[in-house]
């Protein structure tokens, strides 16, 4: 009898059903996620006693003043956004042909195998993959050895090595959304296009690209935000390069200046929010 009463009550009160269902996720979102962001925002207004390293809980814009007046921070910021954009472009250029091949050219029975192969690197440890790239970029490593007969010097450790390694790490995250987008593209459209006399290039430009555009944007969100937030790859293959994420990590871990790190963290947050806002209009966030 009691169970029926609860059922009836819930049936009549739609709002309560929704509230109960969403309670846990909203709590997680509001408190754990947004709450911690809010705490970080507030701590960016604090400062640290320069001698003892203890936090001084008085509000001031000193951290932001330093970020704006010292040129090195804007250099680091521009460099980091540049790396994120470069990684996104490289991954996009690599992922589109691969996704096209898997979804349209491969026979159906091989498709799942190849998708599994694309996913397999994600099972390997992030550090193992990055250290593998470190030994490849090292003096006397594989890349230097391959380029030697052509008389070209390998890039060694640095910005190029960081970009290439990041592009490698995030490629599966770009291939999968684009593959999903292409999979939804009916083959009849492609046949119709060629019936009307379009060349392969024209079909790609006018039919395929506009339809998978939201999928490309969705994949780019992954690569952009993951690259902007990465602080380990640059420490391993980056040589002396500094990116915004590892400067934040250095200020938190080693310098113990949490408020300054929080102030610096506002930059990638703003960059990604800006990117998401621009991208929203493309419909990628709904269709995907």
């Amino acid at each position: 009898m009691r169970k029926n009463r609860i059922n009836t009550w819930l049936y009549r009160h739609k709002g309560a059903r929704a509230a109960l269902l969403l309670a846990l996720p909203v709590l997680w979102l509001a408190i754990a996620y947004l709450g911690s962001l809010a705490v970080m925002l507030i701590s960016s207004l604090w400062s640290v006693d320069s001698f003892t390293g203890n936090t001084v809980h008085s509000l001031s814009f000193g951290n932001f003043h330093t970020l704006i007046t010292q040129r090195v921070y804007s250099t680091i910021a521009i460099r980091s956004i540049g790396v994120a954009v470069a990684v996104t472009l490289i991954d996009g250029l690599l992922a589109i042909p691969i996704a096209l091949f898997i979804s349209k050219v491969l026979k159906p029975r091989f498709r799942s195998v190849v998708i599994a192969l694309v996913l397999v690197p994600l099972w390997a440890s992030y550090l193992v993959k990055t250290y593998a790239w470190r030994s490849m970029f090292a003096d006397g490593g594989v890349i230097a050895w391959v380029l030697k007969p052509f008389g070209i010097h390998g890039p060694g450790f640095g910005l190029a090595a960081t970009t290439i390694t990041l592009a490698y790490l995030w490629l599966p995250y770009m291939i999968l959304p684009i593959y999903a987008g292409m999979d939804r593209l009916p083959n009849t459209l492609l046949e119709a296009s060629s019936d009307l006399g379009a060349s392969a290039g024209r079909t790609f430009r006018s039919i395929i690209l506009p339809i998978i555009y939201p999928a490309i944007i969705a994949g780019s969100i992954f690569t952009f935000s993951l690259s902007l937030g990465d602080y380990i790859v640059v420490k391993i293959v980056g040589g002396t390069t500094q990116l915004v994420a590892n400067v934040i990590a250095d200020n938190v871990g080693t310098a113990g200046n949490l408020p300054f790190a929080a102030a610096m963290a506002i930059l990638p947050i703003t960059a990604i929010l800006g990117y998401l806002f621009i991208v929203r209009r493309s419909g990628a966030l709904e269709n995907f």
Partner: protein, 391 residues
């Protein structure tokens, strides 16, 4: 959807703003009052310490190098040692309150003392303290007003390490500071703002017009000169190092041929027998460290920590650590226990005059350490200068 999110954000911000506004401020310009342990009790069975690489060996790096397991057998305290790469890391880790003690260098000790992170040490509870070198006791970096805040561990210099096969023995730090270097891209430097003192020490010899008397005591002009020198050096640097295993790997793969390093790194590399690395103290001198074991003010296992401090400064163990790491032991009786009978002579372990010549890591403060007044740059300024040097 967007408006809803905005409202949630504002609400959260307000809520947390109110919560945090009630928090206490944490400035300690004066010495915090921290209680000192009066008597030793039974070991608690566990010990969490923050250590420099090579200070708490348990046989995992080299089967014959182990003084942690014998400690556990003797006292019952199971040791959990966290290795840190820089003094900044150590200060940050101590602030979390989850550790019983730390092997702090002189550029961390005063920060920890004035930050209230460490307690004064009752030297009567550490029997081996009596025979520690007298020139390490009651120093500027490990004591305040005559009260010791730690037990001296050992001291040494930041040496210039170089690949013996590919680099001719350098006699001056110009090997890493000169603008035109045959080793461009294969030089390394310590990745910490405290390295600025190394540049300042070099300038003491090469630009005497700057009138630098203490490399940790730099006014704005002197700091700017050191920063300029380090920016020139950056063009020749392949990698900065703070993680000693990465430094070892870097030397072994010949990505790094020379640079500022520690004797323990050279010893580890030579032990792996892939490359041979030699070390030297160039003519301009060296910065270095004088390490002190300090006990946390929030130590959960203080008895085990005191037992550890007594163990690590006992003659046999202090000799073992010093020989493995490549530093001068603080324990005078350790010299009779070293495997190499000339060890203490080589490292000038009991030579007070030599010990005075090393520029030990010290926290730079606005109040000049050489007594010029409040015109010097502090560690915060050094940290920001370091970020701008790395570019």
């Amino acid at each position: 959807m967007w408006m809803r999110t905005k409202k949630i954000v504002i609400a959260a911000l307000a809520a947390f703003g109110l919560a945090i506004a009630g928090a206490t401020a944490g400035v300690a310009a004066s010495l915090p009052n921290v209680a000192m342990l009066k008597s030793l009790g039974k070991g608690e069975g566990k010990l969490n310490i923050i250590v420099w690489a090579g200070y708490a060996e348990n046989g995992s790096n080299d089967k014959t190098v182990d003084w942690v397991n014998p400690f556990t057998k003797a006292t019952g305290c199971v040791v959990n040692a966290k290795t840190a790469g820089t003094s900044d890391e150590m200060v940050s880790l101590m602030k979390t309150g989850g550790y019983d003690g730390v092997s702090a260098s002189g550029d961390a000790t005063l920060r920890l003392i004035y930050g209230g992170q460490v307690a004064p040490v009752n030297t009567a509870l550490v029997p081996n303290y009596k025979t520690i070198s007298p020139f390490l006791k009651n120093q500027q970096w490990n004591s305040v007003n005559g009260q010791m805040y730690g037990i001296p561990h050992g001291w040494g210099a930041n040496v210039l390490a170089y690949n013996a096969a590919k680099v001719k023995k350098p006699t001056s730090w110009s090997a890493v500071f000169a603008a035109n270097s045959p080793y461009k891209g294969q030089i390394t430097a310590y990745d910490s703002p405290i390295y600025i003192a190394d540049a300042a020490m070099y300038l003491m010899a090469t630009q005497p017009a700057l009138k630098i008397t203490n490399p940790y005591s730099l006014d704005k002009t002197q700091l700017a000169a050191a920063v300029a020198l380090l920016k020139v050096q950056k063009k020749n640097i392949g990698e900065y190092w703070s993680d000693y295993t990465k430094s070892v790997q870097s030397f072994e793969s010949s990505n790094t041929l020379l640079g500022s390093s520690w004797q323990v790194i050279a010893n580890t590399i030579n032990g792996d027998k892939k490359v041979t690395v030699a070390t030297t103290v160039p003519k301009e001198g060296a910065t270095g460290w004088s390490d002190t074991w300090m006990i946390s003010s929030k130590a959960q296992h203080p008895n085990c920590m005191y037992q550890w401090m007594n163990w690590i400064t006992s003659p046999k163990v202090n000799a073992q650590v010093a020989e493995y790491f490549g530093e001068a032991p603080s324990q005078t009786l350790a010299c009779a226990q070293t495997a190499d009978k000339n060890f203490c002579t080589t490292y000038h372990a009991t030579d007070a005059a030599y010990a005075k010549k090393i520029w030990y890591w010290t926290t730079p403060t606005t109040s000049c350490l050489d007594g010029r007044g409040n015109i010097c740059t502090d560690y915060a300024a050094w940290t920001q200068a370091w970020t701008s040097i790395k570019g």
